[in-house]
Amino acid sequence: MTDAPRCAVAITDVSKVFNPGRANEVHALDAISLRIDEGAFVSLIGPSGCGKSTLLRLIGALTHPTGGGVRVNDKSADQARLDRDYGMAFQTSGLFKWRSVTENIELPLQLMGWSKAARRERAVEMLELVKLEEFANHYPREMSGGMRQRVAIARALSFRPSLLLMDEPFGALDEMSREHMQTELLEIWKKTGKTIVFVTHSIPEAVFLSQRVIVMSPRPGRITADINVDLGERVFETREAPAFFEKITEVREALRSEEGSA
């Protein structure tokens, strides 16, 4: 039993209703159950309105379920948030333009009351991890979208949370930066061993990155397929391998069967 991986996220029969009882009531999520092992890379994919971002926010306790329970690292999601168990990255980098790259990465550490020296040391380490050492003193406006996302990832990891929640972080990037960032993210994942929950609407992205792809459907948001992806070590050639395309087809079929039934 000791060999079984610990459970990082446990979602049990969760539903989420926005504006309950009012004219604009929305059933965002219904009967969602999901367990994510520690150290796993899991993607949530589905059409817009399927509640994938809402599900991610429930894990982060940025919003709360109407029914059911969310546990993170065997604590309530709220407690996990207060314990800073997770880091978060969004589609827009959310960097503060009045802070340099280093100061942006130091922000969570500053909020936690770290000393200046300790903060600086960790920021240097994080810049190395995302390969932006020479941009330490730049301001966000001087960087490309991909570089800003790397800073945002460095910031999310700066306080070494065990869990990384990512909401379409590469959604605004061009195709080439996007593939580059995917490779970088996998490298970071391998080096740090974090659990990563990744929301995306790109099928190849989900398949390339994850060990598991959770397919969701809208109105109300439900999990309709849980697809294991075993492509071994991801290298450049992975994107051209037949097994890669087979998985893409499998996910696409799962998404389409949803449209049909809806």
């Binding site: 940025l62 948030r81 207060l82 800073r84 978060m88 827009t92 333009k97 802070r99 922000l107 929640l165």
Partner: protein, 262 residues
């Protein structure tokens, strides 16, 4: 550095000198007596001939302007901080601020004179404070509350306290808004002070100087005092611009449009 500064002066200098030349020459052609509108050269001569008296008046008005400006800015910023922090304060103080602004403030001058004494500077200061308050309050409030959802979610994911959010996000975000309002307020303060002085307050100030000289048909002298008031307004505007640059070093020059930046 000096060459760069002079380069910035170039176009403005040409336009300024051109307008003055046009003013001077067209008067020579249309109304050589220069009775109602004197030529710029005559105004400059009057300024130097009455320099001592105008200098004393400018200092006297300057005192009202500076103290009123500081008072109005402190009040406006404090009010904005309060209402961005507490919903109850927003619901009660915002309508109060708006009704305060709806009063024709200059019309209060004679009433304030009755309250504070006809020759007391306090009534003039009060007018300037109320005039300055509103633009500072409105803009600063906008800056404090105009923070993106991503940024706020990010801060919540760090379990940041509302004071931490204010200090690290809201206040830096409000700085550009605040400085825009400061530029508006600095001109308003000069206008408010001089008009208030028409009704009372210290008699050695620019307002009484203009009223008395215009009453004696000494229009050139009145214009010289107007010139001194304009110089004060320009100086305060430039000072606001310098403060803006110093407190927001992260901003590129293109974002500080409207601040005069040689």
């Amino acid at each position: 550095m000096i060459a760069k500064a002079l380069h910035g002066f170039g176009p403005a200098g040409v336009v300024g000198a051109g307008s003055l030349a046009f003013w001077e020459l067209s008067l020579l052609l249309i109304r050589p007596d220069g009775f109602v509108l004197p030529p710029p050269s005559a105004i400059l001569v009057a300024l130097f001939e009455n320099f001592d008296e105008i200098w004393v008046a400018t200092r006297s008005t300057g005192y009202i302007v500076i103290t009123g400006l500081i008072g109005g800015v402190v009040l406006g910023v404090a009010w904005a901080l309060l209402i961005s922090r507490f919903r109850l304060a927003n619901e009660t103080l915002t309508p109060l601020a708006i009704s305060l602004n709806a009063i024709p403030i200059i019309a209060l001058a004679p009433i304030f004179n009755a309250w504070f004494g006809l020759l007391s500077p306090v009534s003039n200061q009060a007018i300037v404070v109320i005039l300055v308050f509103f633009p500072v309050f409105i803009n600063t409030t906008k800056g404090l509350t105009d923070v993106g959802a991503t940024e706020l979610e990010l801060m919540r994911s760090y379990a940041a306290s509302s004071w931490q959010i204010a200090r690290t996000v809201r206040i830096p975000n409000a700085l550009p808004y605040f400085f825009t309002s400061l530029k508006i307020a600095s001109s308003l303060a000069v206008i408010g002070a001089i008009v208030a002085e028409y009704f009372g307050g210290r008699q050695d100030a620019l307002g009484p100087f203009i009223v008395q000289n215009a009453g004696l048909t000494r229009y050139t002298e009145a214009w010289a005092a107007v010139l001194a008031g304009s110089a004060m307004g320009i100086l305060l505007y430039l000072l606001s611009g310098v403060l803006e640059r110093v407190s927001m070093p992260w901003r590129p020059a293109s974002e500080t449009m409207g601040s005069w930046d040689p």
